[in-house]
Amino acid sequence: MNDSTAVSDLASLVRVDSYPTHEHEGIRLRHGTPLPFGATIVAGGVNFSVFSHNANYCQLVLFKKGAAKPFAEIPFRGLFTDPQTHEPLWGEFRIGDVFSMVVFDLDPESIEYGFRMTGPGNSATRGEPGIHRFDLTHVLMDPYTRAVSGRNVWGVAPNWQDVYPYRAGIVQNDFDWESDRPLEIPIEKLVIYEAHVRGMTKHASSNVRHAGTFAGLREKIPYLKSLGVNCIELLPIYEFDEMENDRLNPLTGERLYNYWGYSTVGFFAPKAGYAAVGRRGDGTMVADELKQLVKELHTAGIEVMLDVVFNHTAEGNEFGPTLSFRGIDNQTYYMLTPEGYYFNFSGTGNTLNCNNPIVRNMVVDCLRYWASEYHVDGFRFDLAAILGRDPSGAPLSNPPLLESLAFDPILGKVKLIAEAWDAGGLYQVGSFPAYGRWAEWNGKFRDSVRQFLKGEPGKVGEMALRVQGSPDLYASRGPTASINFITAHDGFTLHDMVSYNEKHNEANGENNNDGANDNESWNCGWEGPTDDTEINALRNRQMKNAFIMLLTSQGIPMMLMGDEVARTQNGNNNTYCHDNELNWMDWSLVEKNAELLSFASRMTKFRAAHPALRRRDFLTGRDTLGSGYPDISWHGPHAWHPDWSHDSRVLAWMLCGKHSKDDYVYVALNMHWDTHIFELPQLPDGKRWHVFANTGAAHPNDIYEVGTEPELPEQSHIFMGPRSTLIVVGR
């Protein structure tokens, strides 16, 4: 046998199971393969596979795209016809708890599919509890579907009478990635930008061709690059229904939406309404548009992180709609009380039963899919504490799901970030089961920095912990466990944090009862917009101070979309329901607030230039190299003498250059309302202090480009104005 013969023989190999064995009403079939779950294109047809432990009957429902009625319903068990002899033939397309079947001659582009199932118990009655909620009248969406249609164009009212409102579709996953792969940027080098796909470019000022879409966001990559962020964290992009909120804005009468998207319909499907091509109704095309976005972000050196919501689904409680999971296997997918009510640790009606082995596998499969098929670099888990509860809701000491994710081979390099609390009162910041992998949104960083920023007394000690990466919380995990943020989608924007004392959520239609009350914000002397130049100058300075605190702290900084240009939500701290200017990035602010944008951009570049600011291990406060300086030293108005007193509102620290193979970096925070003179620590012989940033100085002397910092004329001390911050570098 020569090589060419071998190749020729291999090319002629064909699977012998690619022919039909059964027929149902003219449609040709055969046993399917249980794995992978979902709909998979195979030779000659499509393999459908769905799990249900409790269902005793399942049938596949096939629709032509958008058709009101199915064109075929094929049971997974019953009397069929032999396609060759046309003789009656018994068949059951099930192995274990998995129904699977290949249907031949289907055009994957032109069909939608679902299931009907029956099992024990009576049909579900709306509002009544039930362990099982089987109901043959419902067409059920496949939990593993890679595409969902039904909400293809954002905000377009659907046919509310549709028998199958969220339809599973089939995706061809063969995108031409060329050489792209996840970037695997070391986590300590990340600067995360939390953004909403639609919000980024929907505003008329965005000047993109396809506003509010994945394609539109692609056009803003140069902006992200120039801002200096290297990771974009997208609010949920799994398919959800923005139309599920049917309330109106009481102030304007406008329709309200589920804008943020924290209510998943399909875990494996990108939101079609976020794709410019969504209106074409082609799930593969939607996937392509998102993949192209990821690919181009990667080319620009920017990672993609997804905000994922595995704590609940869009099916709500016993009054909610039967869309998928509850009709397929309610007892498996949800945490239920013994009576069959839904546990509500998510605050949204139901709780996904994440530590059931089936659900656990689904979550792992889902993340594997996004990491491998979409080249996603990381995940931020909404209300992740829920993922550590057992089926009865009790917190587990060693949650199998979290462990599985931490040690999964395909997820081996992706970033895993937990929002380490839930709506059921489980608060695990600092104690989230991490397995050496998980990082956390550090809510204590947010609170401490806000308190210190507004000049609260008694906060200096806590602030010192936060700027070190919170060793009090992550002693055994290191500073990279701490995702530092001052603002996020949930709460005030940075501009509003320095402009409002109170939330102003009247437009949400909940009588201002929604949203957090403890914002730790300070309006600088006037609630909301003002023409007072002093107040506006102070607000501007406070925003700059916040950027310095965020970007000089050890840990991983995350900023909120638009904070760099002082985006406002008019004091609304819970804008989950607004598809309007309240949430959209106003790109005219780029010019209007160019000073702040420049400040933020230069700060990200300063962080990138200084490894001393982004260490993997905690600083020790000791001189471990014999450099003559501790790796971090604390100071106040007097060098080497920090003021830890209750009334103190000042803190300074110096990072030894030798310990981080970097310049010496000295940061001083004066959150007192008076000017203070800060004595600067003496540098090693030959080195001089250069000022990089001083928020007390007028623009353009508030910040310099890295490498152009002017030498301080007076090396022994510096005046710091009221509520100002300073960075000097010694080299």
Binding site: E109, A215, A275, A276, T284, E289, Q292
Partner: protein
């Protein structure tokens, strides 16, 4: 409108004219035409698509297939794409695989 495909060779360029709707049901025809074009070893491949009203994801993949089949050195021109088709190619990123032209530019295509 039904899909239709014709092809010819002109000045060393394989020209494939597509009309109607290019979707999964007919993408195989297009692929066969591309395979035949590759045998001719043309200097470039021109897809004349002014009468193509729709291109599905399977159609988009045919473009990638063409690029891979022809090799990196053979340029592929998509000529006269209607707005819908052009947008589809651009939004999904496939425009990076081809050169989009409003009209047949012999100087560029046959160079």
């Amino acid at each position: 409108m039904a899909f239709n495909l014709t092809s010819d060779i002109h000045n060393g360029v394989v020209r494939i004219t597509l009309s109607g709707e290019l979707d999964a049901s007919v993408a195989g025809q297009f692929k066969t035409a591309v395979e035949q074009a590759a045998v001719a070893q043309p200097k470039s491949l021109a897809l004349l698509v002014s009468d193509l009203s729709y291109m599905s994801s399977a159609g988009l993949r045919a473009l990638v297939f063409a690029k891979q089949k022809m090799g990196a050195s053979i340029r592929i021109f998509v000529v006269g794409a209607q707005e819908t088709v052009q947008e589809t190619i651009e939004m999904t990123g496939f425009s990076h695989s081809v050169v989009m032209l409003e009209s047949y530019d012999a100087a560029q295509i046959e160079a």
